[in-house]
């Protein structure tokens, strides 16, 4: 059935999830170094910016159809890093945009990057190009813009829908080095066929942590892994319960998801009755 309000177990899970996050962030701030495996796509980000600096051609950073959401926050972390590098190399960075409110946020992030590198006076607001909030008017504007600007490297980060292959092919046709990161898995195959590097699902969220090695982001990344290990275990337990329930039907253990869904009254009854 639908979930309109949290059951006790869900509130418990939220509290439990918050534990590792704050614990590992504090540990990271205190200077603890975490091991993090290499992700090819992320090293390519700096390579791509360097390449466009050598060729003296612009970089494009597209946030696709991402609306104001946790995904946008992760994408802005990468944009912040890319914008700082472009400010240092004095490289033109264009931002084709799809939504007015997201554009305002992206512009404020880019300005902060130029300000931190002390290059605010070189920030050119006309590099923020609002195309359209209609999916395919946006795609057609993107295609034309990067072909005319002869972009040397293109970033496609965030939430994409069907237009993903159009954006990727446009970059591929002009020989741009492309790094893509899609939180929508069904667009990943098109980025794989048309881009040089593709970050998949949560690798997008990890990108900012990798690039900046900031304690908060590293701590959060490490905490995420811990939670995934718990879910990994939960799946194994759940599968074993389901298997046991099929082989010995009379056992009939309650599975994990029913426990999570148990409403307040059942939990109270269980606590009181100890059944």
């Amino acid at each position: 059935m639908g979930i309109e309000h949290a059951s006790p177990a869900m509130i418990l899970i939220l509290l439990i999830l918050a534990g590792p996050l704050f614990y590992f962030i504090r540990k990271a701030i205190k200077g603890h170094q975490f091991f993090v495996r290499k992700i090819a796509g992320i090293d390519a980000i700096n390579q791509a910016i360097g390449r466009s600096a050598e060729l003296g051609r612009p970089v494009s950073f597209c946030t696709g159809l991402t609306n104001i959401s946790p995904t946008l926050y992760a994408v802005l972390g990468v944009l912040f890093h890319v914008a700082r590098r472009c400010a240092i190399y004095r490289n033109k960075l264009i931002l084709p945009q799809n939504q007015p409110d997201v554009m305002a946020i992206a512009e404020s992030v880019m300005k902060d990057a130029y300000r931190i590198e002390g290059r605010l006076h070189e920030f050119d607001p006309s590099n923020i190009i609002y195309l359209s909030d209609e999916q395919f008017a946006f795609a057609s504007g993107y295609m034309g813009t990067i072909h005319r600007e002869k972009v040397a490297s293109a970033f496609l980060f965030g939430y994409f829908a069907a237009e993903s292959l159009i954006l990727a092919e446009a970059g591929q046709q002009i020989g741009a080095m492309q790094v893509a990161a899609s939180v929508s898995p069904e667009q990943v195959p098109f980025f794989i066929t048309s881009c040089d590097y593709t970050l998949i699902g949560e690798e997008l969220f990890a990108a900012a942590a990798y690039l900046t090695r900031e304690p908060v982001q590293m701590g959060s990344l490490y905490a995420q892994d811990r939670v995934k290990i718990v879910i990994f275990g939960l799946i194994i337990v759940g599968v074993l319960i389901a298997t046991a329930n099929t082989i010995f039907p009379e056992v009939n253990w309650i599975n994990i998801d029913t426990i999570i869904r148990a409403p307040w009254q059942d939990v109270k009854a269980w606590l009181v009755g100890g059944s």
Binding site: V36, S108, P185, T193, T246
Partner: protein, 240 residues
């Protein structure tokens, strides 16, 4: 301009627009560029008004100005003005802070509304997380042994085993902070990557149908509707 000629010209212009976009397949060219700019212009003009017409006007401004209250011929009113509606002024003014993005000195004010919107989407994502994830989690608890009236149904059992294996292998591949030293760990992670590629290949294959379907529809339009419209245009005969 009779209705008939208008439909004729709509079809003709539709064909010209389609050909302008298709011309990009050869090379970025002026013919494409003009229609790209027209497309963005039309979409911006349409979007601005539609956003107003379908949300701001009916849901916020009409109740705010009491336009939904009718005055009857005898001067009495169909309903009273609900003063709580005035609370809508707060989000409207607060939303205007976005426009401070353009001011050098007060740029930070825009960050108030930006933060607020980010916070709102964060608040929403807690329910979204459970509402979407819980059914997925419970349907991942697939029994490794599937019974079909007494005997083990090997086909489904093996499929379930592969399902669980793929799920765990792909999750394992995405662990960032675990060194996969042992041989089995490396193979397990590699198999996660391979199975993910099978998934992406299936996605790609299942999408070819959708993309070609669109192209078929556009070609149907060009080869049948547009072609006959051009014929009538030049032959000045009645539309076919």
């Amino acid at each position: 301009m009779t209705n008939q000629t208008l439909i004729l010209w709509t079809t003709i212009m539709g064909g010209v627009c389609t050909l302008s976009i298709f011309s990009f397949l050869i090379k970025e060219n002026p013919f494409y560029r003009v229609f790209e700019h027209i497309f963005i212009g039309i979409a911006a003009g349409l979007g601005a008004i539609q956003g107003f017409r379908y949300f701001l006007w009916p849901q916020i401004l009409v109740p705010l100005f009491g336009l939904n209250i009718v005055q009857y011929p005898d001067g009495s009113f169909s309903g009273e003005y609900n003063p709580y509606v005035l609370l809508y002024i707060a989000p409207l003014l607060f939303g205007l802070l976005y426009y401070f993005i353009y001011s050098k000195k007060h740029g930070w004010l825009a960050k108030l509304v930006i933060g607020f919107s980010l916070g709102a989407s964060a608040g929403l994502s807690f329910k979204g997380f459970f509402a979407e994830m819980l059914p997925q989690l419970s349907s991942s608890f697939k029994s490794l042994v599937v019974m079909a009236n007494g005997t083990i149904d090997w086909a489904s059992s093996l499929s379930n085993m592969l399902f669980v294996f793929t799920l765990l292998a792909v999750m394992y591949y995405f662990f960032f902070s675990i060194k996969a030293e042992s041989a089995t760990a490396k193979k397990f992670s590699a198999s996660g990557r391979w199975l993910m590629m099978v998934c992406f290949g299936s996605f790609f294959g299942s999408t070819v149908m959708a993309r070609l379907a669109l192209l078929v529809e556009r070609l149907q339009f060009l080869l049948i509707d547009w072609a006959s419209a051009i014929k009538t245009l030049f032959s000045f005969g009645p539309p076919a």
